[in-house]
């Protein structure tokens, strides 16, 4: 794409072709205004697509195999570890990293910080796709995926935490779809949709905050069903939901910094000047939010240890692992964010964001998989399970990129 833009090609960013008032057709819009041959040529030129092609070539047959041969073909069919990588990664890591949607929605729509406007849509998209793929990961993991709607309509168990997760993720998905309707309606030339969403955007955003608070917390609360199975340093019944909720704040914001950095680096041709010029300042703004959430998170983590009187565990092997997670995933990002804000260095904030994202991924995997059943034995995922996770995650990246190429997320639609 870089080469094409240097040669004077400009991707679709308005309803009309430059010469006169001729509308782009849908096919042309989908191909970014390129001829089919040019489009394929640019796709083949991109080395990242080759990597993806290899992953899909191996992964898709394995993924299909899971639905033909059953879960025991792709996992270790463990009775002691009923939740493996599909949920450990796909649900417990994807969801907090997708908290950016409601965070930026709140910032812009509720707190009226219009100066974050140019990054809001990226945050919403990051949220929507993260949730969508969390559901897809869940579908891979469920024994009977075709019964996904059972907790909604067929047989209700409203006292269960998972019931809250199911309902809130489902409703929040539709909220996020609605929040992205404006971007789609601009692209599709369908102004009514945008007008309608504009009217209800405050309601949608507040609904987003409620649903997010509850389901981000509920993911943590799921583990309160298993006191004694998760290592005490990663488990605290009264604090668990709050730990998960609070960490989702900096997880979502840090993920947004990471994603926007990737866009700035690899999708520059698709970003408009407004996005690029504001990004450094916005990154530092997000960094401020992150550092506040990080310090809160650190304090409540320590409080939880004090509350449960778990200090002695800190001096065991698990304790070292815990300290590692807290230092690399919380304290170092916190210090880096603070330094970055002080020195006005967006670069440093970006590095801090990467660490925070990895830190939160480690925290969720620790809770769901690594320290789970700490008194029994360690489950090592089956290689096919790893392959499927990689495949679905690659599909997430492809979808992400597909939308970013086309819809006005990183650029404003020209009238």
């Amino acid at each position: 794409m870089k080469r094409l833009t240097v040669n004077g090609m400009s991707p679709v960013d308005s309803l009309f072709k430059e010469e006169g008032k001729i509308l782009w057709t849908v096919k042309e819009k989908l191909l970014l205004g390129l001829s089919p041959l040019d489009y394929i040529a640019q796709a083949v030129r991109n080395p990242f697509n080759w990597v993806l092609a290899i992953i899909f070539a191996v992964g898709i047959p394995v993924l299909i195999g899971r639905f033909i041969f059953g879960l025991s073909w792709v996992t270790h069919s463990s009775y002691d570890y009923p939740w493996g990588l599909f949920l450990g990664w796909g649900l417990f890591v994807m969801v907090p990293l997708s908290a950016s949607g409601f965070m930026l929605g709140t910032t812009v729509e509720v707190f009226g910080r219009k100066d974050f406007h140019s990054i809001e849509r990226l945050a919403l998209l990051n949220g929507l796709l993260g949730y969508l793929f969390a559901v897809i990961f869940l579908q891979v993991d469920l024994g009977q995926p075709w019964r996904l709607v059972y907790p909604m309509f067929v047989s209700l168990g409203p006292a269960a935490v998972l019931f809250l997760v199911a309902w809130h993720v489902a409703t929040y998905l539709s909220v996020q779809v609605a929040e992205l309707v404006p971007a789609f309606s601009e692209w599709a030339g369908w102004p009514v949709g945008k007008k309608f969403v504009k009217k209800i955007v405050l309601g949608l955003t507040v609904a987003g905050i409620i649903l997010s608070t509850l389901h981000q917390g509920a993911l943590g609360a799921l583990f309160t069903y298993a006191p004694g199975k998760v290592h005490p340093l990663w488990f605290s019944a009264p604090f668990q939901w709050f730990h998960f909720f609070c960490s989702s704040i900096f997880a979502g914001l840090s993920m947004l910094i990471v994603v926007s950095t990737l866009c700035k680096t690899f999708l520059k041709w698709r970003c408009d000047d407004e996005f690029l010029e504001n990004l450094d300042r916005q990154t530092l703004g997000l960094a401020k939010g992150c550092s506040l959430a990080l310090i809160t998170y650190f304090v409540i983590k320590v409080l939880a240890i004090a509350h449960d009187n778990d200090w002695h565990y800190l001096f065991t092997g698990w304790g070292q692992w815990f300290v590692f997670e807290m230092v690399v995933g919380v304290l170092v990002p916190l210090a880096l964010y603070a330094t970055a804000i002080r020195n006005d260095s967006a670069r440093l904030a970006r590095f801090a964001a990467l660490l925070a994202v990895l830190g939160i991924a480690l925290n969720r995997l620790n809770t769901a998989l690594i320290t789970f059943n700490w008194k029994l034995y360690q489950e090592i995922p089956h290689w096919r399970e790893v392959v499927i996770v990689l495949t679905v995650y690659s599909a997430y990246i492809v979808t992400y990129r597909f939308v970013l190429y086309r819809l006005p997320i990183l650029y404003s639609w020209k009238k």
Partner: protein, 306 residues
Amino acid sequence: MKKHNRRSLLKGGLVGGLLGAVGLSKKAHAAGSFEGYKDRYGMLVDLTRCVGCRSCEAACNKEQQLPAPDKPFDDFSVFDEIKLGQKRRTTEKAYTVVNKYEVEGHDRPVYRKIQCNHCNEPACLTSCFVNAYTKTPEGAVIYNSKVCVGCRTCMIACPFYIPAYSYSSVINPVVKKCIMCYDTRLKYGRPPACAEACPRETLTFGKREDLIYIARQRIKLNPEKYVDHLYGEREVGGTSWMYLSGVPFEEVGFDTHLGTEPIINYVKDFLTIVPMVLTIWPALFTGFHLLATRKDAKKKEEKSNV
């Protein structure tokens, strides 16, 4: 008729909460004194009597029409099986297993039968978001495979590591666990197959209340033979299956750190905040919005006044 017990109250409270009423917290607090169905049955397992003959395993297999085991029931080499450092556990093919323990200072091995303990306040039941589990008035915790989605949260929640899952089934994988022979026996007041098959009267079937009395008597009459504890009387809120042992329970594989609180009590901290968030957040954040945008609103007003 459906009895109005605490569990249905809890559910009602949460549904109310979802609709926006702050209703859960009070009801949840009444929890500690939950008595359960009064006339429920139970089983008393006396480990001092068990000789590890595996008759109960065989009877269960036959009664529940489970597939043939990998090794026949008279093959005692299964006692030496160790997988990932663990002795045998319940599987999709075996709802109950007997394990052998060599206890120091004890002249003969101790055998321990495991199966679903049929908790008074089952964690599997409260964690299930499609309501697939039922605690019947007879005391059994049964499972409805027709609504199960296969999320396996019940397996996460069970403190005894009992539910197994038929992972190998593609079309209809389901949870597999002891249902106390509910469909074929318990419903009619008959003892489960394992109890009937036991040649040593290790298993005593009866009303749970009576079993507690019997157990107490046994401890009282033979204080040197038994550890003074009835495992399951109060663990995780009490279970229908209870154990007497001649050796400390932790030495024969029991988790003695489970506490007496039902698992659901750990979850309540979260459940109580749900109605609060649902009711407080809208007002709070709309308020924030009005505060944050008050300058814009003022400007607008001034403009319209001009």
